[in-house]
Structure formats: C-alpha cells, structure tokens
C-alpha cells in the first residue's frame, strides 16, 4: 500500500470513527443518565418517552 493511499484510508476511517462512535457512545450515556434519573425520582422523566 502506498503512503498516499494509507493516508487517505487512515483519515477517512478516523473521521468516521470519531463521528460514528461519538454519536453511538453519546446515546448510550444519555440513555443511562435517563435510567438513573428514573430510578431516583418519583415522577417519570421526559427522556424515557424518547428512548
């Protein structure tokens, strides 16, 4: 593989991972925060409806 090709592949995959993985992981954290809130509050939090 040439250095130029490697650079392009590395750049594309890195950007895809930063965006894709960032969104996926962010949603996981958001959902868990919502479940934590639901387990500690007496009322049902709004975020549960969006899950």
């Amino acid at each position: 593989m040439t250095t130029n090709t490697l650079s392009k592949i590395a750049a594309v995959f890195s950007i895809a991972i930063i965006i894709g993985w960032g969104i996926y992981w962010g949603v996981q954290v958001q959902d868990t925060m919502c479940l934590l809130e639901a387990s500690t509050s007496e009322e049902m939090p709004e975020c549960l409806e969006n899950m």
Partner: protein
C-alpha cells in the same frame, strides 16, 4: 443476533461456580483487570500524545512506539483473561447491559484500529513529529495527529464504558 445463550453458558460453567465461591479472589482479579487497563491506556497515551507533539518532544517517536508495544500486548492479554473471569461471576447481568456491549465493541475496534491503521501510520510518521531521519515518503502531520486523537478517543470510551457498566 441473540447472544444471550453465550452468557447462559458462561453462567452455568465451572468457572462461574469457582468465581462465585471465591469472592475474595474476584476482588484481586478485578484489581489486576483495572491495573492492566491503566497500563494499556497509559502506554497508548504515551504514544498518542507523543505523536500529537504534546509530550516528550525531544525524544524520537520510534523508540517510544516500539517500546510501548510489548506492554500494550501484555496489558491486552491480561485484560481479556481477567475480563472473562470477572464476566463469569455476573454473566446474566452483563447479557442485558448496554455498556458491556459498548465496551466490547470499543475494545474490538481499538485492537483492530491499533493493529491496522495506528501501527502503519506511526511507522511512516514524518520527521517533523520526531521520526528518526528523513523519509522518502511520509504520512502528513495532520493525519498522524488525527489517528492519535482517534486512538485516544477509542481507549477513553473503552475505559469509561467499563466504569459505566456499574451504573447501567
């Protein structure tokens, strides 16, 4: 794909019986698991932050990357072995834990990323970020830094997901 049967099998295994019987040993294995994670992330950070030109600017990057490799591999082996031991004790809990799957996905992605792109890009780093001597062809500085940032992001989320397993 339903993978619950794997957790059911692990939960009914002799290893699970042993783990549940020896609770004190579980704590010791968990300590090794966390220390291995610290070693892995530490070695990764050393290499990645060097390639981002944040730390050890006066030291060539090649010996840093080369010397941290064996510790990264050792840490990975320890993480996986102690991880299986720990998982056997709480297999059915993990079967429905979204952060456990996030951690496994991150770990797999981190290993593949390291063995394929990270290693290949760092081997062809330009002289500006500390490679030994001039190269006929090298990867642009911004690509090296982007790969280093991605590597840091992946391993941060793997470590953080492990911590979040306890909350979800």
């Amino acid at each position: 794909m339903d993978v619950v049967f794997i957790f059911q099998w692990l939960d009914a295994s002799a290893l699970a019986d042993f783990t549940k019987t020896w609770a004190g040993l579980f704590a010791a294995v968990q300590t090794v698991h966390i220390l291995s994670m610290v070693m892995l992330c530490g070695m990764m950070m050393l290499g990645d932050l060097r390639m981002m030109n944040v730390i050890l600017k006066g030291v060539p990057s090649e010996p840093i990357i080369e010397n941290t490799k064996k510790w990264i591999y050792l840490a990975l082996v320890l993480i996986i072995l102690t991880g299986i031991y720990e998982a056997s004790a709480i297999a059915m809990k993990l079967a429905y834990n979204s952060f456990f799957f996030a951690k496994m996905a991150g770990l797999s992605m981190g290993i593949i990323f390291m063995l394929s792109l990270r290693n290949a890009v760092y081997l062809r780093a330009p002289e500006e970020i500390g490679a030994n001597g001039e190269r006929s062809e090298s990867v642009p500085v911004w690509v090296v830094k982007l790969v280093a940032f991605t590597s840091l992001l992946i391993w941060f989320t793997v470590a953080a997901s492990g911590r979040w397993i306890g909350f979800s």
